[in-house]
Structure formats: C-alpha cells, structure tokens
C-alpha cells in the first residue's frame, strides 16, 4: 500500500515535469546506488519509508523503460532531441559523449530481458545518428555571423 502511495507521490511531484520516458529513465537510474542496486530518494524515504521509496522508484524506472521499448524510432528521435534541449549542453558534445560512453547502457532497470534492452540500445544508436546528421545539416548559430561579411 505504501509502495503504491509512494509511486503516486513520485509521479505527481517529481516525474510530472518529465514528459519524456527517456528523461525519466535517466533521472530514475541516477537514483540507484550502483553498488547495491537499491534506489534512494530522500524526500520519498522521509514521507514513506526507505523500502517503499525504493520499490516505487524501481517500479517507475521499469515503467519508463517499457515505454522506451514500445516507442517507435521517430518518437525516440523526438525524445532524444527534447532531452538534448533540456540538458542545455552543446549538441556536438552531447552526441560525442552519448556515442562514446553510451550512458544509457547503465540505465536499464533490473530484471529486464536482454533482448528488450538490446532493442532500445540499438534504436538509440540509430536515433543518435539521425540527430547527428540533422544537426550537421543545420547551420551553426555563429556561422551566419562569420559568413555575412563575405556575402
């Protein structure tokens, strides 16, 4: 019962601002201790209990991942684009880091079948390539300034 209430609280207070499953996935994965596999959220643990908070976070994490499994490639590209905008990092740096480090690989919840996770990784790889090609096709923000004197 506590777990359901904690999950509801988590959805209403924290996750409601994260409309994209990818954003929620990365956020919820960051709540997990890599050494123990347990999730921790101070606010939730204070309001409910550490166990309930952990279960609620794990459930929402799994939910976000399942939404990503069901997402089409087009949706995934949009999600990645929105996530990139929210991070406010330079797009080229973001894409280089995501292609090199593949941070999404450590964001998979426990108990997910390896085929589902491989499908998501594979789709994210292609989505990153699509996003990279789109960004390369767009003119850099400073480029027009540099070009204008020549024109």
């Amino acid at each position: 019962m506590d777990v359901l209430a904690a999950a509801d609280d988590l959805r209403r207070r924290t996750l409601v601002e994260m409309t994209q499953p990818l954003e929620r996935l990365i956020y919820l994965a960051s709540m997990r201790d890599y050494n123990t596999g347990l999730y921790y959220h101070q606010g939730l643990a204070t309001r409910f209990s550490e166990e309930a908070a952990c279960e609620a976070l794990a459930g929402c994490h799994r939910e976000a991942f399942e939404e990503l499994v069901d997402a089409s490639l087009e949706e995934l590209v949009h999600e990645l684009e929105a996530y990139l905008q929210n991070t406010r990092v330079a797009p080229s740096g973001f894409i280089a880091a995501w292609k090199g480090l593949e941070p999404y690989r450590v964001a998979v919840p426990v108990g997910i079948d390896s085929l589902s996770s491989e499908l998501v990784f594979s789709n994210l790889k292609v989505a990153l390539a699509i996003l990279e090609s789109r960004l390369a096709a767009r003119p850099e923000p400073g480029a027009s300034r540099h070009l204008s004197p020549v024109q």
């Binding site: 499994v69 069901d70 089409s72 490639l73 087009e74 079948d113 085929l115 589902s116 491989e118 499908l119 594979s122 789709n123 790889k125 292609v126 390539a129 699509i130 090609s133």
Partner: protein
C-alpha cells in the same frame, strides 16, 4: 541359404534393437526439481521476454524503416538495417534456445507429471517440429533478405510458440498455480499468454 542368412540377420538386428531399448534409461523421477524450475524459467522468458506482441511488432515494424529512409541519408538507412537484422537474429536465436529447453523438458520429464492426452502430445510434437524448422528458415531468410523479408514465417513461429507455451503451462502448473490463473485470464486465442 541366402534367405536363411537374411532371416538370421533380421533376427539379430531385432534382438540388438530390443537390447538397446531395454538399456535406455528413463528420466529419474526423484531429484528433477531443477529441470522443472529451468523449464518454468524458459517458459517465463518466452512469454514475458520474447513473445509479447508489442516487442515482436516493434522489431519487425516497417514504419521505422520507412521513417529512416524518408528522413536520413543512405548510410543511416544501412546502419538501421544492420542493427535491426542483428536484433531480429538475436530474437530468433533466443526463441530457438528456449524452445529447445522446453522440448527437452517435455521429452524427459513432463510426461511423469502432466496427464497429456496422446492427441495433445502429437500436436505438441508437431508444434515443436514446426517451430524448430521455422526458426531455421527464419534465420536463413533474415540473413538473405534482411529483417523485413520473412513476416509470414514470424507469424507462423509466434502462433506455434503460443500453443507450445500454453501446453507447457499445463505441465508446469503445479509450480505456480496463482500465476497460471492470471495467465489463463489474460491469454487470448492461440497467442502466447503475456
């Protein structure tokens, strides 16, 4: 004389055959709990990890391909096809592996515990044969024609796998009766219970 020799040879052959049959060990009834748990695990992997409709639809969905071809350069299209081929081959390999685990379980142990009728056993045997053949055919087709070249075989495979899962569910029902009830409620037609 030749006829006598032939009859003798046939007789010796039959004796050897009988001796081999007599030597064949049946599956031990005691101590086979691990095999049941492994079979249950294989069944769960099939039902929850490999055969859900949404997963299969996602892997073999042509809309993704159309989207990539319409919105990106050719090299990304190639990357997409390579990736989807890899995933679809991985799917076939995993399904085949779990089906073989279930088949081995049925050959060795399930008859000791489940009261399957002869007709069900024949159907099950045919389904296993169809599944293993379909897996092999699908692998070849995926290698040759890519991830979108074998939609019909995927359909045959998932339908047969659903039937095999349903029969295996009966054989393993005693391990998890509550889960069986929920599977029965959620099952639809010939498809796998998800």
């Amino acid at each position: 004389m030749i006829a006598l020799l032939l009859y003798l040879l046939v007789g010796v052959g039959l004796l050897v055959f009988l001796w081999l049959l007599a030597r064949r060990k049946g599956a031990p009834v005691e101590g086979c709990g691990r095999q049941f748990v492994e079979a249950r695990q294989a069944l769960r992997t099939l039902q929850e990890g490999l055969l859900p409709d949404n997963l299969i639809q996602r892997i073999f969905d042509r809309d993704d391909f159309r989207y990539v071809m319409a919105s990106s350069p050719g090299d990304i299209g190639e990357l997409f096809l390579q990736e989807r081929k890899r995933i679809s081959l991985m799917w076939v390999r995993r399904v085949r592996c779990e089906i073989r685990n279930l088949m081995q379980f049925h050959l060795d142990y399930s008859r000791l515990h489940a009261k399957l009728s002869l007709l069900t056993e024949i159907r099950l045997g045919l389904d296993f044969a169809v599944l293993l053949l379909a897996c092999r055919a699908l692998r070849i087709l995926l290698y040759l024609r890519g991830p979108y070249g074998a939609r019909a075989v995927v359909g045959v495979m998932t339908t047969a796998a659903g039937r095999v899962c349903a029969v295996s569910e009966e054989s393993l029902a005693f391990l998890n009766p509550l889960a069986l009830e929920s599977f029965r409620r959620d099952s639809t037609g010939d498809g796998a219970a998800i």
